[in-house]
Assembly symmetry: C2
Homo-oligomer: 352 residues x 2
């Protein structure tokens, strides 16, 4: 690591946000962490990725020549016909924006691989952001089950003796194993969680439309604030509790002329319970794996860590919330932070 | 009915299509039926409604001065904050495009009301297209349960002694009663029907994204043809079986590099079963209503009538498929046809 390149960048290139972390790094340790998350719905405009990468780099004070760790999930977007195409698209965008940087994608097996070599086996670099988070958390909690509740998905990863014990290495395998639960704090449509919700003492079927998201339920319930609602609203109206109540009312094809405050709050509480159920199902499935110590604590992270904590408490598990270090803005960009720090350690090791 | 106004128009103004029927009408009976369905995702651009109304009128050979029956469901769109606002918006658009026509919205109680009077109680004119269909079907099948499986929703309406026996008069009340099931042949997201699908002998969770719709499953299974896929594809790619298979693969975060033809066909078959279940649940709920004759036959209509027929057969019910008259293009525009014919009868009666 030469003195001029003392900054390192970590990327998490997702389907709806491009997240970056940069930090000063060297023999004296790490410092001056800078984070950003730039919105980009990649299915709307994949071509905009190059601009958003450049913008995010500026926002974390990176000049474009720093070594960069790369993780992603954007390759799943239906902007691309296959993951292969998606990974290569992301690689190409990075190369175009940062032609002089050492770009080091993290592989699904936890290795940083130079971009040129990574290009020959793109599938090893699809959906890797959880790998960075799990390897990073393993440094601090060598025996635990990591639960990362993000805006869109939830990861459940056993960590044993400081090693990541994942059964699935592709999204599909992880959806089967319970390690990936496609439900999250903000973007999840309630109609993926319930067939019906309680209303006036009866059960009311819900609309199969994009009328509301879980962010509306949590905003209405006061579990998140307006500034936590970091994704677009379904109807383009504001991220306020009042507008959220209107969106939730539409879930049962109603509006606020028909439903009172109590009605929509009850719907929100029911949805919260069902999302906790969904997370709990995946967690219990992972915990049922043979050979896992029954007293492994749960380490809960991510913007929806409070959901994982509640699930853990209900199951009678020890719950560790590394809030001091990983709360706030960091919670939403953990894979970016983690990949930067992992790469920093690797480069320092190689330097020795 | 004066001789110059021998044509009548029926409208069904939905959230994703504007449907119109026109027919020549008079003492000699009905003839020269002309139908159209113009795509309009009203939440994208409500202002475009006026242009689409004018276009649809041209397509059914209407000059704009004909008496017109009006039904709608577009008021539910989140382009409008409330149904009240939505109904009045639709009324205003009609009035603007057809200022000289007798516009006669159908009320939820089955009455044609002049637009000026209807404006004072807009909620009576929200979500009325099923009323037209049910009143029309009641003429031919005075004792039955009507099941209309549309592109987006399914209606289940008991008809007794030639009268529509609906319990719910709002969308919300109908979702509670089982008379409205928010699932349909084309636009329904599979993730509203299932939490997981079979894959390689295991169950795989599904993605909470807008990756695939039921039209993809039915196209892949050969239950519909490419020309039946009348809504936009989720990824903007073609409505072909090959592209549909790619979209279904993405439902489990996979692509066609990972899943073979058999895999996606099995997913499609599972989704078909789950949608039949969903329709069956609503039907059995409606049939459980006290006082309904246990041998009422099922009359199945709509673009997805084959789903209702299958549900009816499985339940051991008599299934009547009025295919000769209401199949093909007419299946998709039944409320428009029905409202035109109901209005025609009304005007002829008044003429006497």
């Amino acid at each position: 690591l030469d003195a001029a390149a003392r900054r390192i960048v970590g990327w998490d290139i997702g389907g709806v946000q491009v997240k970056a972390a940069s930090l000063a790094w060297g023999p004296v340790g790490e410092d001056d962490e800078r984070l950003t998350a730039c919105p980009l719905e990649i299915w709307r405009d994949p071509g905009a990725l190059v601009d958003v990468l450049a913008q995010a780099a500026r926002e974390v004070g990176a000049g474009g020549t720093e070594p960069a760790a790369v993780t992603m999930t954007a390759e799943l977007s239906d902007a691309f016909r296959t993951k292969r195409e998606g990974v290569l698209f992301v690689f190409d965008a990075l190369k175009r924006v940062f032609p002089r940087a050492a770009l080091l994608p993290l592989s699904i097996r936890g290795e940083f691989v130079p971009l040129a070599a990574a290009r020959s086996r793109p599938l090893d670099f699809a959906a890797t952001n959880w790998v960075a988070s799990a390897m990073f958390v393993a440094r601090y909690y060598p025996d635990c089950v990591l639960i990362d509740v993000g805006s869109t998905t939830t990861d459940v990863i056993p960590i044993v003796d400081g090693c990541v014990h994942a059964e699935g290495l592709t999204d599909t395998a992880r959806l089967i194993s319970g390690e990936l639960i496609y439900t999250g704090l903000l973007r999840t449509n309630p109609n993926t969680l319930v067939e019906a919700v309680p209303l006036g003492g009866r059960m009311c079927r819900v609309a199969a439309e994009h009328f509301a998201i879980m962010a509306d339920a949590y905003l209405l319930l006061g579990r998140i604030g307006e500034s936590d609602y970091t994704c677009p609203t379904p109807d383009g109206r504001p991220a306020t509790p009042e507008a959220a109540a209107e969106r939730l009312a539409r879930l049962v094809c109603a509006d606020r002329e028909f439903l009172g405050e109590d009605d929509v709050v009850d719907i929100g509480l029911f949805l919260l319970e069902k999302q906790l159920d969904r997370i709990s199902d995946g967690l219990v499935q992972v915990l049922s794996r043979r050979g896992l110590r029954p007293d492994l604590p749960l380490v809960v992270v991510g913007v929806g860590s409070f959901l994982a904590a509640e699930v853990g408490r209900r199951l009678g598990r020890d719950v560790l919330e590394p809030a001091a270090g990983w709360a706030g803005r960091r919670a939403a960009v953990l894979p970016a932070v983690a990949s930067a720090r992992l790469l920093g350690s690797r480069l320092v090791e190689e330097d020795r």
